[in-house]
Amino acid sequence: MNSIIDAGSRVVVQGITGNEGRFHAQSMLRYGTNVVAGVTPGKGGQEVEGVPVYGTVPQAVAERGANTSIIFVPARFAPDAVHEALDAGIKTVVIITEMVPQKDSIEFIAKAERTGAVIVGPNCPGVINPVDRVKVGIMPGHIFQAGNVAIASRSGTLTYEIAWHITSSGLGQSICVGIGGDAIVWLDFVKLLEMFRNDAETKGVVLIGEVGGKAEEMAAQYIADTRYPKPVVAYIAGRAAPPEKRMGHAGAIVMGNVGTARSKVDAYLAAGVPVAERPSEISQLLKDRLPVRA
């Protein structure tokens, strides 16, 4: 499976000895994730939830074969943690931390592009793969079930809302990726659409967007240009958002004429992507378009 996380993911939790790191390490383990190590500088030798803690990422890679990292380190230390993971050869870095300065994100994203690593986030709920039962994130696992719908979202709780509707309707998810609420994120809708295109498990795609930036317009362009072979449905949050005001997420801000909900909805409709007016409509839009299930 051509997935960001799968059964082969060996996860190191950076910041595992903090409250959040500890809580979510336990939750990921319970879901079935292969959490092989934790890292907290200066706290090597401990155990958290039975997971060995190391002082550095290279140790976690050398001793435990970690290939995926999830970061719970506070914003001012998170960039160093990302650089350490990339330098240690980690190929997928999921950054949960919010309020990372843009300049720092730009720098570690440039490094990830040189090393060929995947960066998810910052300021994201992470990734869940219900097919392989792997969660590298903070989402409640029980609202997801294995299925054929791939979800990509700029939001956290709104993703859970829509995933829950999809699950309740009898459909399930092949993967769900929270790309993050920041203005600067590496993994975006276009990159994910490319991955979902070749993923055998994925039969349909949900893009959950919001005001700010051009991620949805770029996705619409990509879908139209490539005659995207799988059905895509969308939701846009923030139709009521006023201009020049940051709506919670650092990236959710309309600047001048750029980033309005109207522009995004129009771009999707022009590309043949239906846009739900309410989160609960997504599952019906999917059912109308997915191939009939066996």
Partner: protein, 381 residues
């Protein structure tokens, strides 16, 4: 965080960039004295962080100290595009022969800083981009390489200016990049960048926006970060309490957890015929006080007729949210109707607490919205 023009110019001046002689005041009488000190024509500029300030009457030229004082008296205490004017900047009028444009900003799509230069300044750069794209140059900066004077010179050469102007413009561009890096700016912009009759490049106007997530590296702005002229009084209260609150012009209060979910809730209220009064995201894992204070803040807007609370509990516990709502309503003077949608961690306990307190609790956001609009008298059923 948007800096005032005078603050931006003070920073740029420290980096050796040409800035007009100027002083700020809040006192029109002092404006007259300042203008007299310059001994020539001046410009009086309202210090408001809003685009289109000039067209809205926020920039006034004056030929005499008295005219400067009069202009300042008119501006101070007025509103430009609904933003109150508290401070005016009085500057010597520039003897300019040309207006250019220079900025360094963050390109979200390319995930890089981009240097934007144009020989056509003093107008909306977006308009220049669509009308005369050949007058704009863009350079995306590789973070490892940076952007120095040599790189800037290479870029400016494309304009085919004189050697002196190429050098002058390049120095300005390189300086803007240095300032952007040193101050964690998401925007440093000179529009216009003036060329004066002596051939000097001078920042006629300047904007700097600092990345709010990087304020911890710039303690000098920590206090400054709490004061925003563009905030409404309730937004200012929210900022001090650390709440993500944005005021809208409707009358249905909104409280929720997660920015996307809160926006979706606003949109649903509007779709169902109501008008959302605000955006309020209590964030993840909110404690009782955050919910209580948030609810009180939302209800304190006089126009608000009812409040819709939408919680999807993961790390946020529904019982704690219920407790916060009940405490908020107890502490409130006016009993505005509240409808709650909650789902997730400890939802049964949360629903029980709310029901016992006589507060409507619903399992989905559509029903909660419909009920709230009904009981607050906004939509007849």
């Amino acid at each position: 965080m948007k800096l005032f023009e005078y603050e931006a110019k003070e920073i740029l001046g420290r980096y050796g960039l040409g800035i007009p002689a100027g002083r700020v005041t809040m006192d029109p009488a002092e404006a007259e004295t300042i203008a007299a000190g310059f001994g020539g024509p001046v410009v009086i500029k309202a210090q408001v962080q809003v685009s289109g300030r000039g067209k809205a009457g926020g920039i006034v030229f004056a030929d005499s100290p008295q005219a400067a004082g009069d202009a300042a008296a008119k501006l101070v205490g007025s509103r430009i595009k609904d933003i109150p004017v508290e401070i005016v900047l009085i500057e010597e009028k520039l003897d300019l022969v040309d207006q250019l444009y220079a900025s360094v900003t963050v390109d979200r799509q390319e995930r890089k800083f981009v240097v934007l230069l144009s020989t056509s300044g003093g107008v909306d750069i977006e308009e220049v981009a669509s009308a005369t794209p050949d007058k704009i140059l863009r350079h995306w900066v590789e973070p490892t390489t940076g952007f120095d004077v040599a790189a800037a010179r290479n870029m400016v050469k494309e304009f085919g200016l004189s050697e002196g102007d190429t050098e002058g413009f390049a120095k300005v561009a390189a300086t803007l990049y240095t300032v952007a890096m040193d101050f964690d700016a998401e925007l440093v912009e000179l529009n216009p960048l003036a060329k004066t009759s002596t051939g000097a490049f001078v920042a006629a106007d300047a904007r700097i926006i600092i990345d709010e997530n990087a304020i911890f590296r710039h303690p000098e702005f920590e206090q400054r970060d709490m004061v925003r002229t563009e905030d409404t009084p309730r937004e200012a209260v929210a900022r001090r309490q650390g709440l993500a609150y944005v005021e809208l012009d409707g009358n249905i209060g909104i409280v929720g957890n997660g920015a996307g979910l809160v926006m979706a809730t606003m949109d649903l209220v509007n779709l169902y015929g109501g008008r959302a009064a605000n955006f309020l995201d209590i964030g993840g894992g909110a404690k009782v006080d955050v919910i209580k204070n948030g609810l009180l803040l939302v209800m304190s807007k006089p126009e608000v007729k009812g409040v819709l609370v939408n919680i999807l509990g993961g790390i946020t516990r529904c019982d704690i949210v219920a407790d916060g709502i009940i405490q908020g309503l107890e502490a409130s003077w006016e009993k505005k109707p509240v409808a709650v949608r909650m789902m997730g961690t400890n939802e049964e306990e949360g629903a029980r607490l709310l029901s016992e307190a006589g507060i409507g609790v619903y399992p989905d956001m559509e029903t909660a919205t419909e009920q709230l609009l009904k009981i607050s008298g906004e939509v007849k059923s």
